[in-house]
């Protein structure tokens, strides 16, 4: 009894705040619009020209994700190398010196900052600056994903066995040499598998970024929805689910092969 009362007290404001009115769904007006829109879903539109456009937008979605990931890697790899404390020479005998410590912490904060702004918000900002089109999507994915990749790469490298790296560094190897011959061979599989997983996520999010005008499948879907073209939306939803499923499958296969 007490728990039911407590739940009601907690839930009531949430229900009010979210304007939770399920009966709104069944009002005649809303019902008519929904039925009209959903009725249009079947049959999905399968004209040659339209399908060609959908295929082109699909490729653009994948291309935005791939280009974004490439740029993200270009940003993330140097930042990871800077922020990894396993590669610190001054930390070998004991404590890290003040200056390298500050630089490493600053790089970590930069990664957190990049990661904490959702890619959709970056996309909104870049659409303002460079106009509608895939450039905004590529930049948005590049910035957010560089933060995520940088953080997780750092964690993977730190969690590795540091014995080989330490020995290399103690014997006078450079940081880059210690990374290539000490850290990288141990963690290459894990790093690759995480990158492939992120690429899959990037495809999903690049389809969504289109809704704010960053190109790809999402933009066409948004256009069709605004014009209540149910048949076009149905086709694109099916294609979108296929694309996501395919990316999911490809990524799972790649990770299994690479592991």
């Amino acid at each position: 009894m007490f728990w039911i009362c407590a739940a009601l007290v907690l839930l009531a404001p949430a229900l009010v705040l979210t304007e939770f009115k399920p009966w709104m769904l069944f009002e005649p007006n809303a019902l008519k619009a929904t039925r009209h829109f959903l009725g249009d879903f079947f049959p999905p539109k399968i004209e040659g020209e339209f399908l060609l456009m959908v295929a082109r937008e699909c490729w653009r979605t994948v291309a935005i994700a791939t280009a974004g990931m490439t740029l993200a890697l270009l940003i993330a790899i140097p930042l990871t190398l800077i922020s990894t404390s396993a590669l610190s020479i001054s930390a070998l005998p004991g404590r890290m010196h003040a200056m390298p410590f500050v630089v490493r912490q600053a790089t970590r904060w930069l990664l957190i900052l990049l990661r904490s702004v959702p890619e959709l918000v970056w996309a909104l900002v870049f659409v303002r600056v460079v106009g509608l089109g895939p450039t905004a999507g590529v930049l948005a994915i590049a910035l957010t994903y560089s933060g995520m990749l940088g953080k997780v790469y750092g964690e993977i490298l730190e969690s590795d066995e540091s014995h080989a790296t330490n020995t290399l560094l103690r014997n006078g190897a450079g940081r880059l040499q210690a990374f290539c011959y000490g850290l990288l061979p141990q963690s290459a599989a894990e790093l690759t598998s995480y990158t492939v997983y992120r690429w899959e996520c990037a495809i999903r999010s690049s389809a969504v970024l289109g809704f704010v005008g960053a190109g790809g499948l999402g933009q066409q879907m948004d256009n069709s929805m605004k014009m209540f073209q149910g048949a076009e939306v149905a086709t694109m939803l099916i294609v979108f689910m296929l694309l996501v499923g395919l990316a999911d499958y490809a990524s799972a296969w790649l990770r299994r092969v690479l592991a």
Binding site: L17, F20, A63, I64, A67, V130, P134
Partner: protein, 281 residues
């Protein structure tokens, strides 16, 4: 060394002279993979009409500079801050309610989607899993854009969108948890002739409840982040304010909304980190 003398002499590691592997070998899968990857990357940059010239031009730099400059002077009048607080609480309420609905619907769908014991025919397993996959593969934002037609602009559409996507995710995780639960107690009840519903309630559910709870909390954390941006397509919460003020070029207000968003995400991250640390003790 007296014992070692009896053994055959150890052969040197580099006795057999071998050339280093070739850079490219037609049988090397990794080479083909790298080639394909390079081709995909080049093709991506090639086919997208990326406007680097425009992005790197002095004009864009000036606009970006002005944009950032305006962002540095956030609006902080009390009336606006109050609106912002309401929107933040609305975002959290959306995510909480969406996750709660999804947990209930997810559990309801996970039951037919799981095979509880070997003799279970589980006729509904495949169709239910297809439904769950469908729900899961459409992102929250697309659900929100679709639901706006039925539920109108506002937080209700956002809540439903979160609930639908999360139902797909949680339903699948719950079904897997049910299937992976230790079968012993359920079997003991079943051989006594206890009906299936009670077997689930008294053995399986009791065993997997902590796992279900942790999945739900994890999704809630994700959903708070998702709820913050759902408003951009008309789903209410902080995102709606962001889209509104950014659309009208109210840069000072936009800046404050962005900060609130980052603060909310940071707060969620910190709380989750803290509770994990506390629970692991």
């Amino acid at each position: 060394m007296s014992g070692a003398s009896a053994k055959p002499p150890v052969t040197a590691a580099n006795e057999i002279y071998r050339l280093p592997p070739k850079i490219f070998d037609a049988r090397c899968a990794a080479c083909w993979f790298m080639l394909a990857l390079a081709a995909l990357t080049v093709a991506s940059f090639w086919t997208l009409d990326l406007q680097w010239a425009k992005f790197l031009s002095a004009d864009a730099a000036r606009r970006m500079g002005r944009f950032l400059g305006e962002l540095l002077s956030p609006a902080a009048n009390p009336a606006f801050l109050w609106k912002l607080t309401v929107a933040s609480v609305e975002t959290i309420a959306m995510s909480a309610l969406g996750t709660l609905l999804a947990a209930i619907a997810g559990l309801a769908l996970a039951l037919p989607a799981s095979r509880t014991h070997a003799a279970d025919p589980a006729r509904w397993r495949i169709p239910t899993r297809l439904i769950l996959n469908g729900l899961r593969s459409i992102p929250e934002l697309v659900w929100a854009a679709l639901l706006i037609i039925a539920a109108g602009l506002g937080p209700f559409a956002g809540t439903l969108a979160l609930a639908l996507h999360t139902t797909g995710v949680l339903g699948r995780l719950f079904a897997e948890a049910i299937e992976n639960a230790p079968p012993g107690p359920a079997f003991a009840l079943r051989v006594q002739g206890v009906p299936a519903g009670r077997v689930f309630l008294y053995s399986t559910l009791a065993q997997i409840l902590p796992q279900l709870l942790s999945y739900t909390l994890y999704r809630w954390e994700n959903n708070i982040r998702a709820a913050a941006i759902l408003g951009v397509v008309g789903g209410g919460g902080l995102g709606a304010m962001l889209a509104f003020h950014m659309g009208l070029f109210h840069m000072n207000e936009t800046s404050t909304v962005l900060m609130a968003m980052m603060l909310l995400v940071a707060l969620v991250d910190f709380t989750s980190y803290l509770s994990r640390r506390l629970l692991q003790r």
